[in-house]
């Protein structure tokens, strides 16, 4: 159990001390003491009240202290971490495998124990095409879980890959975004023969298509203009990110779900996982749609940080991020998946904004409950006080 505003508790403790002191030193009508030799005391004004030095009205004091404690616990944003699952398991499943998600969820275990269904959040993603999307989706879901459920302390990532995937250069870069161990499992699935034959197409020089400049009407294959341009912090290509305040005006059609649109092969991604460069096979080779815009005169794409970008862009058709099918077990051999120096689970606090995370009580009903109890106790205190007077 923790509190968001510890100073409220400190103030409550000080208040309790003041209340206790007032009880201890309350002025009350003094009980006369019978003394036969009272006549030998000098006559004078005798105060009717005296300072009480013995603790009195213990029940009233108890009610007041309990009301104060409830008020403080309610106002301090008390967080009970013991309520609800403390570890949430994020299961990123390939879309084709999602049909059997119930089976995968039921079979998910950790240290020999079956993970309860309530602690698992299954997320579908096109992992067969872009396996690194597992990390993108996982990070998004993890951030949502961490924000919405303050009781969650740790996040575990399980990735369910099909038997074969396309090579994904972004894997290592995105893998680094999840600084904890990852459980990757491979499930057998019929290989898409059409995709395999496409992947076996001859390699030739690519044709680069840049987006039309702002204000000029035009199209970009595989992309549609965004209703409102936004910004993104990094562009990942060739396994290395280029960090800059990128303006993003285009959106991959696969992301917006345009039916019937040809989805190209992504070769570079924005930091949120959205494709930034798509390659389409053509009769003469291939065509690459580059949805990346730089300010006029910018040297971002020729800077040393953009070596990966340049390599991707200059690669022959089907190169760099090869379209050939590779075994998912190659990804499983990634030594970082079970790196011992990384924690087994990702700490949810890592994904939380410190102030935001501590601002609200957990569970949400806790503060109203404390405040209600406090009101009830104050009512009882008033009733008890009026009863004592009557």
């Amino acid at each position: 159990m923790s509190v968001a505003l510890p100073w409220v508790l400190v103030a409550a403790v000080l208040g309790a001390m003041v209340v206790g002191l007032l009880h201890y030193l309350a002025r009350r009508t003094s009980t006369p003491w019978l003394l036969p030799t009272a006549r030998f005391l000098p006559a004078g004004d005798v105060p009717v009240t005296s300072v009480q030095r013995a603790l009195d009205d213990r029940r009233l004091l108890l009610l007041r202290l309990l009301a104060l404690a409830s008020l403080a616990l309610g106002a301090a944003g008390t967080r009970c971490t013991g309520i609800g699952a403390s570890t949430r398991h994020i299961l990123v499943v390939d879309r084709a495998l999602m049909r059997d998600s119930t089976r995968w969820v039921a079979s998910l275990s950790e240290e020999g124990r079956t993970v309860p269904r309530s602690a698992i959040q299954a997320v579908p993603a096109p992992l067969a095409e872009w396996p690194s999307l597992a990390f993108v989706e996982a990070l998004q879901v993890a951030a949502q879980v961490a924000r919405a459920e303050p009781a969650v302390r740790h996040l575990a990532l399980h990735v369910l890959l099909p038997d074969s995937v396309r090579l994904d250069d972004g894997w290592a870069a995105w893998r680094a975004q999840w600084p904890a161990q990852v459980d990757v499992q491979v499930v057998g699935r019929p290989v898409d023969e059409r995709t395999l034959s496409a992947a076996a197409a001859p390699v030739s020089a690519p044709e680069i298509r840049w987006p039309p400049r702002a204000g000029i009407t035009g199209t970009l294959r595989g992309f549609v203009p965004r209703p409102v341009a936004d910004t993104v912090g990094a562009l990942v290509a060739g396994g290395s990110p280029i960090v800059a305040p990128w303006l993003r005006r285009w959106e991959a059609v696969a992301s917006v779900g345009v039916s019937g649109a040809a989805t190209g092969r992504p070769m570079a991604w924005w930091s949120d996982g959205e494709p930034a460069v798509l390659e389409f096979a053509t009769a003469n080779g291939c065509e690459r749609s580059v949805a990346v815009e730089t300010p006029p005169g910018s040297d971002l794409l020729i800077s040393p940080a953009a070596v990966g970008w340049q390599r991707v862009l200059a690669a022959p058709c089907g190169g760099a991020a090869s379209a050939r099918r590779m075994a998912s077990r190659d990804l499983m051999s990634d030594s970082t998946l079970r790196r011992a120096s990384w924690p087994r689970h990702l700490s949810a606090d890592w994904l939380r904004d410190g102030r935001e995370a501590q601002r609200w009580p957990s569970p949400r009903w806790l503060a109203p409950a404390f405040l209600t109890i406090s009101l009830l106790l104050l009512g009882a205190e008033a009733w008890w006080r009026s009863r004592g007077r009557s």
């Binding site: 006369p32 019978l34 009272a38 006549r39 105060p47």
Partner: protein, 259 residues
């Protein structure tokens, strides 16, 4: 004279001149009266003060109440007197149920007195002086009181008895709490409501000690001054030791009288 000669005693003011032994006066130049058997049995009457002030300290206090101490001393003195064959009697000054037992020698008198005293609870503010007048003149009177009631009237009554040849003693019982007031500030009231409520504080503690000390001194002076005996007894003192001391003092005064 009725009865057989028993002993001589120094003449006191008020003695019957016919009892003077003139021959002895001529030989010794000191006046002695002849006491017969019937007068040698000196009745002893205890007058107990059962006013509300004697109930102090209340039950639960650190010391026994003045009433408990006074009762024990009274019974002890009466037991000693009864053992020497003297008739014993008892008077208890109480507002509601005063006790009047004339001196007598028959068996069971002491037990009856014990029973009656044990059934008495101090209360009210009954005066003692009227009861003193009821005590036979030739009887030995022992007044056990805190002297906080009608003390002046009591002294006047005793003075009259002594003038008529009687003897008297005051056992002045005080509680330790009266001698040394408790610390702190307290609002106090007289259980007999003789004065308005007062306050104990560090400022008036010294004045109280001086005033109460002067009162005790005045009481002692008054009793000694009229030829009576006086003893100040704290209520927490062992009653057996107190009775022994009182009997020894009475015997020595009697011896001095004989000498």
């Amino acid at each position: 004279m009725v009865g057989e000669f028993a002993e001589y005693r120094l003449y006191r003011q008020g003695d019957d001149p016919r009892t003077l032994d003139w021959k002895l006066l001529a030989r010794s130049d000191r006046p002695f009266v002849r006491l017969a058997d019937d007068r040698a049995q000196l009745p002893t009457v205890v007058l107990l003060d059962a006013s509300a002030s004697m109930a102090f300290p209340m039950p639960g206090g650190s010391s026994p109440s003045k009433w408990v101490a006074a009762s024990a001393i009274a019974i002890g003195l009466l037991a000693v007197a009864r053992a020497t064959g003297d008739p014993i009697g008892c008077l208890v000054a109480h507002d509601v149920v005063p006790l009047r037992m004339a001196p007598r020698s028959r068996r069971g008198t002491l037990e009856e007195i014990m029973h009656r005293i044990g059934a008495t609870t101090p209360s009210g503010s009954a005066p003692l002086a009227p009861l003193i007048h009821e005590v036979p003149r030739h009887a030995r009177l022992v007044v056990i009181s805190d002297a906080l009631g009608d003390h002046d009237a009591m002294v006047a009554a005793v003075r009259g008895r002594l003038g008529a040849g009687g003897s008297a003693m005051l056992v002045h019982v005080v509680a330790p709490e009266e001698l040394d007031l408790p610390s702190g500030v307290h609002r106090v009231e007289d259980p007999e409501r003789t004065v308005e409520p007062r306050q104990i504080s560090s400022a008036n503690r010294r004045a109280y000690a001086e005033s109460f000390g002067a009162f005790r001194e005045a009481v002692a002076t008054a009793w000694y001054g009229m030829g009576a005996s006086y003893a100040l007894v704290p209520s927490d003192r062992d009653p057996v030791r107190t009775v022994r001391a009182l009997v020894a003092a009475a015997a020595s005064s009697l011896g001095a009288g004989r000498a």
